[in-house]
């Protein structure tokens, strides 16, 4: 009788166990993973190619589609890249509004993340709560930007509209709701014995490994390395704002989740400051003719801190009306493919989805 060495499993693309449309091919001996191969490309739309065919301004609606749960980072990156190349000044009020949008997006992405990890753990109440609360943030976005998911709000030169009347109060109301809810989340989720048992000590990533593999953002901070692009390579008005960079340091699934939970509070703090400090003034500088806007030959790399890590754009102009090349660094690129392949080995099958969710692998930004 032939001895069965291992079983093969397929997670995704049609499966609730992955964060989006991607798949993993697992080889398991008993309950233990011996090999895992990631397969991406289910969402590859060739954005970088499409952008080369469009005017600078026409790319503004394109970019948010690159990262679905947190589209605003793409808008800000594209805008920052173009502004640098074209030498545009952004009015201060627009910068504050941008921070407001970015941090609201971060909150909504983290709530999505909490729901995802909890769903993978089988704690189904939490997605009901978190996604429901996230919807209040989406309502705010709808009010401000006119879109629920794709805001297309940040554009080179500023933002497309000023705050609607009474918007600050609405934001404060939602923030208060979220703060009140955090204690509920703590009791149901972060302090839940089930959650702690399933995540503590699972899939530990060391600081050295994370640095070597280019892991960034909350996943890197969860290993104990204190670094945040908002402080390290500051952009917008972040230097004027007061916030901490929390560091958990365990490097396991648990610290990755708790890392985000702590940052969630910091984001609320940032938004409160932004609401207080926002000056009056214009929100957009006039751009040249959209159809004939040429940008001198140059190139720049811009990066921001997204909820998933360092998001970067390399924007190259060649003096024509269209970009020469825009290369997107999705934060999940590193930890979704290579890191996942290496780190999932040795895990139990049931822990694989939890691990993937805790890393916040987002396929659309890997594949573009």
């Amino acid at each position: 009788m032939e001895r069965i060495e291992h079983f093969e499993y397929f997670i995704g693309p049609q499966h609730p166990g992955v964060t989006g449309n991607m798949s993993y091919h697992l080889w398991a001996r008993g309950d233990e993973i011996v090999k895992i191969v990631s397969s991406v490309g289910y969402l590859h739309r060739g954005f970088e190619k499409l952008m080369e065919y469009r005017f600078w301004i026409q790319n503004v609606p394109m970019v948010p589609r690159i990262c679905v749960p947190e589209p605003d980072v793409n808008e800000i990156l594209y805008a920052m890249g173009v502004e640098r190349l074209a030498g545009l000044e952004v009015p201060e009020r627009a910068q504050y509004i941008r921070v407001l949008v970015l941090e609201l997006a971060r909150l909504s992405a983290y709530l999505f993340y909490f729901a995802g990890v909890a769903g993978a753990l089988g704690l189904y109440t939490i997605p009901q709560w978190a996604i429901g609360d996230r919807d209040y943030i989406l309502d705010l976005f709808e009010e401000l930007t006119g879109g629920r998911v794709y805001h297309i709000f940040i554009t080179p030169g500023g933002v497309r509209r000023d705050l609607p009347p009474g918007f600050k109060e609405k934001v404060r109301k939602v923030l208060k709701h979220l703060k009140d809810r955090l204690s509920d989340y703590d009791r149901l989720y972060f302090d839940n014995a089930l959650f702690i048992k399933r995540t503590k000590g699972v899939a530990v990533m060391t600081k050295e490994y994370a640095l070597e593999m280019g892991v960034t953002g909350p996943n890197l901070r969860a290993t104990g390395f204190r670094y945040d692009v908002r402080r390290g390579d500051p952009y917008l008005v972040y230097p004027k704002l007061e916030f901490d960079i929390p560091v958990t340091g365990g490097g396991d699934n648990y610290s990755r989740v708790m890392q985000r939970r702590l940052e969630f509070e910091e984001s609320i703090r940032i938004i409160e400051q932004v609401l207080d400090m926002m000056p009056e003034g214009p929100v957009i500088t006039k751009l040249p003719n959209p159809f004939r806007w040429k940008i001198e030959k140059n190139d720049v790399y811009v990066r921001v801190e997204s909820s998933k890590g360092e998001f970067g754009y390399y924007v190259v102009s060649d003096g024509s009306e269209k970009p020469r090349r825009i290369h997107v660094r999705g934060p999940s690129y590193t930890h979704g493919i290579q890191v996942a392949q290496e780190m999932a080995v040795g895990l139990r099958i049931a822990d694989v989805p939890v691990f993937l969710f805790s890393m916040d692998v987002c396929p659309p930004d890997i594949e573009r």
Binding site: K49, L211, Y227, D233, E310, Y314, H327, R329
Partner: protein, 178 residues
Amino acid sequence: MNGEMEILEKVKKAFGEKAETAPKWERQSEIKVPLELLHPLLGYLRAQGFGHLAMISCVDWIEEGEFELVYHLWSYEKRLHLLVKTRIDRENPTVETIIPIFRIAETYERELHEMFGIDFPGNPNLTPLFLEDWDGSPPMRRDFDTRKYVEEKYGMIDLTKELWKREEPVLEGENGED
């Protein structure tokens, strides 16, 4: 700015005139090197603390018949971004892999191999990353016309000319009379 100039000076000293260095933006500098210096330079920079390879970009300068590879390095200590650029021949693009220096480069090189058709000898995993059943030339090359491809494969027609119709003047010398 001081730290920035310092590392650029060091690079100049170590690699001589062949390495063109220039500060570009705030906390961002570029170093242009010929291909043969690329690997030593990356190794040197890694030892200098530039441990974070953000990505490897490739720009197709089709008019000049060259690809420009851009290695994006970031140093957490120096808080400096380096754009390490090298030009390679477009016809026969081959670059030795940098996996021994940056392990994470494996996926980046895999993508470049697929999207630009650049060969990376030494990289064990140059299988297709995103595309399946692909029948065109590497799609990110400038000479791959996605609109033409889409028209042939999916029947989606580019309307650009349709959208922008206007009377054009017939200038003397253009209609062959002059």
